[in-house]
Structure formats: structure tokens, C-alpha cells
């Protein structure tokens, strides 16, 4: 809860909530956790957000364990409750992959499943009231704790980079280095005249590279932006709880309403990330 009524403490509250638990090298050369945004910034690239890593890996492991249990018990017989649920998700993913991915690649469907469920779980952390886990962490002596990994651009960009790497890999593997290069340079502008053709190459290359790079960036920032905005609104609503009874009740109602709406975003963003990944891989597999 925000403790003070002044604008300054509200700002501090928000800033505190938006600060990751960063581990890295201090400016004086020693290693340790950053105390505050300034210190975290000074640590530069070779620092790590321990909370983001912890929660994302924990949720990933939860996902893998649950689904692995289902996979071990999976048989052609009549499925029980949990197995049924897992099979429903698998069929949903499978149908999605089948409808938008037309090539033979055993990796795409498991990739889509992992992305969907993992992102869904990470997003769902947003529905846990914003103060619970950070307060618990504070009681345990941990200064900062951001529990929603997808509100950290590092997490979303990390996944987007993974997808980008696969896109490049399959583009080159399927079309060959020359095929991929020609895809980057020979379109959208085409000409019969050789001189014009050479003139078009840099223009095409520029356009295609921009569109190529925009894919992982949009993938990453879309997820991050949606979840960050949602988290921000939860934090702002939480500020109301310190404004007296009327505001607290209003805050409770608002939080509930926003949480209900946010369920849609949580699900939708996971789905969009997955679908776009499938589409990008489909594009990587097919010639233009």
C-alpha cells in the first residue's frame, strides 16, 4: 500500500513497483543488488533482473512439470480431468498451427505450445494483487520484486529474439543463403532493366531489413506494452487504497473490474504472440 498522501510518496510507490531486482557490478567494482533505479542503470548491460528470471523460469518449470505429468499419463484410453484439460490446450494449439502453418516442421507446434502457455502463465501473474508478493518479499528482506516477467522488456525481447533467430535459421535453411539474400534485395521493387535492378537493390534491402527487424521488435513490444500498461493501471488503482474509505471501496471495485478485463488481455496477448510466431515461421518457410 502507498503509505503517504503526498505526491512524492505516490511517485516513489510507483517507481518502487516498476523497479526490477537487479544484480550486477556496482560502479565501485563490487557485485551485488542495486538499491534504486540509478544504481541499476549504472550497472550497464551485464546485470541481470533476478526477479524476472526467477518468476519466468519458475513458471516455465511449472508449465513443463504439469504438462510432462500429463504426457506421461497420456494414453489412447479415456482421459481424466487434468489430462482432458491438457489435451484440450494441445488440440487448440495444433489446430492453430495447422491452419496457419502449411509446411512439415515438428518444432513449430511445441514452440507454439510453449510460448502460449508460458506467456499465459507469466501474464496471469498480473492478476495477483500488485502488493502481495512485493510486500512478502520486503518482509524477507528483498527490496524490489516485480512479479510479472512480461512487464520486463528483457523477457519479451528475449522470447522475440528466440523467434527471430528461428526465423532467420529456417529462412536460410529452406531458401538457401542465396535465396534468402535475393528475397532481401530483389523485392518489392523489381525491374527488367539491369541498371535499374542494381539501383533497386539497396532500396529493397533497406525496406526488407526494416520489415525483418520490425518483426521481433513489434512482437516483443506489443506484449510488453500491453502488460506494462495493465500493470501500471493496477498500481494506480492500488494508490486509491490509501485515500480513505470511499476511495478504497472505489479502488476495490475498479481493481476487480480491471482484473476481469485484464483476463482478456492476458489471454489475447499470449495468443497473439503465439499466432504471430507461427505466421513468421510460415513466412520463413515459404517463398514469396
Amino acid at each position: 500500500m502507498a503509505s503517504g498522501e503526498t505526491l512524492g510518496s505516490s511517485t516513489d510507490y510507483i517507481k518502487h513497483h516498476l523497479q526490477n531486482l537487479t544484480f550486477g557490478q556496482h560502479s565501485d567494482g563490487s557485485w551485488g543488488f542495486a538499491h534504486g533505479a540509478q544504481e541499476a542503470k549504472e550497472m550497464g548491460f551485464w546485470a541481470i533482473h533476478v526477479d524476472t528470471m526467477f518468476w519466468s523460469v519458475l513458471l516455465g518449470v511449472v508449465f513443463l512439470c504439469l504438462f510432462r505429468r500429463a504426457a506421461v499419463r497420456a494414453s489412447a484410453g479415456v482421459p481424466g480431468g487434468f489430462l482432458n484439460f491438457v489435451e484440450m490446450i494441445i488440440e487448440f494449439i495444433d489446430n492453430n498451427v495447422r491452419s496457419s502453418f502449411s509446411h512439415k516442421n515438428d518444432m513449430v507446434a511445441p514452440l507454439a505450445l510453449t510460448l502460449f502457455v508460458w506467456i499465459l502463465l507469466m501474464n496471469t501473474m498480473d492478476l495477483v494483487p500488485v502488493d502481495w508478493i512485493p510486500m512478502l518479499a520486503q518482509l524477507m528482506g528483498i527490496e524490489y520484486m516485480k512479479v510479472v516477467p512480461t512487464t520486463d522488456p528483457n523477457a519479451t525481447t528475449g522470447m522475440a529474439l528466440g523467434v527471430f533467430g528461428l526465423t532467420l535459421f529456417y529462412s536460410i535453411k529452406i531458401k538457401g543463403p542465396l535465396g534468402f539474400a535475393s528475397e532481401l534485395t530483389m523485392q518489392p521493387f523489381q525491374a527488367k532493366n539491369p541498371a535499374l535492378k542494381i539501383l533497386f537493390i539497396p532500396m529493397n534491402f533497406f525496406l526488407e531489413v526494416v520489415s525483418l527487424i520490425s518483426k521481433p521488435i513489434s512482437l516483443s513490444l506489443r506484449l510488453f506494452g500491453n502488460l506494462f500498461a495493465g500493470e501500471m493501471i493496477f498500481i494506480l488503482i492500488a494508490l486509491l487504497f490509501s485515500g480513505g474509505l470511499v476511495f478504497a471501496v472505489a479502488g476495490g471495485v475498479l481493481q476487480w473490474a480491471w482484473a476481469v478485463f485484464h483476463i482478456l488481455i492476458v489471454l489475447l496477448q499470449a495468443f497473439i504472440f503465439m499466432t504471430l510466431t507461427i505466421v513468421y515461421l510460415e513466412m520463413a518457410h515459404s517463398d514469396h
Binding site: W46, I48, F67, I90, L111
Partner: protein, 156 residues
Amino acid sequence: MNINATLIGQTIAFAVFVWFCMKFIWPPIVGALNERKTQIADGLAAAEEGRRDKAKAEGDVAEMLNEAKDQAQEIIRRAERRETEMVEEAKANARTEGERILLAARGEIDKEMNLAREELRKDVAQLAVAGASQILSREVDSSAHSRLLDELAKEL
């Protein structure tokens, strides 16, 4: 909200999760789903086949029933024909037997009659001879007149 090494950590975690999912989660579940799909398809096909077999068996049964009815009809008809045949045969047998008995009886009667006639003739001849001898009161040389007597007997 700084971009830092978390990025690399996340990429690695992502790669490991995808690899694990691809290796240990997706294949067994999808395999089980596909297996179930084939089993259901097989079951439906078997049910369809069973239904077809049943219909066919029903047709066969009706056909067999008709055949059996026809056969029964045929057997009854044959039996009836045989019955009339047997009756006719028996009648014919009885008729021939009767005729044969009649014929034999007639032969017997004829023989008896001939015998009786012969006897009678002999008796009459003797009576005639005795009568004649008594009438004539004299000895008739039977040997001398035997020819005569025989002729007489024959004429009787």
C-alpha cells in the same frame, strides 16, 4: 526497465523450455491423441461393418426361411404324390392278384370238372356194361367187347 543480460538469460530459458516441450511433452500427448483418433475411427468402422453384417444376415435369414418353406412344400407335394402312387400300386397289385387267383380257381374248377366227368363216364360205362349184361343175361366177353365198350365210354 533497462535492457541487460536478462535478455540473454530469457532467450536461453526459452530455448531450453521449447526443447524440453518438443522432446518430452508434445510427442507423447499428440501420439496418444492420434492413437485415440485411430481407435475411434476403427471402432466406428467396425460398428458400421457390424451393422452391414447384421442387415446382410437378416436378408440371409429371410432367404433361408423362404428356401426352407419351399423345401417343405416340395417334400409335402412329393409325399402326396408318393401316397397316390402307392395307393394306385396297391390297387393294381390287388387287381392282378385277384385275377390270378380267379384264373387259378377257374383252372382248378375245370380240372375237377374234367376229372368228375371222366369218373362219371367210367361209372356210366360200367353201369351200362353191368346193365347190358344184366339185361342180356348173358356173359359178355369183356375182352371181346372192350373195344366196343371203350368207344361207348368215349361217346358218353
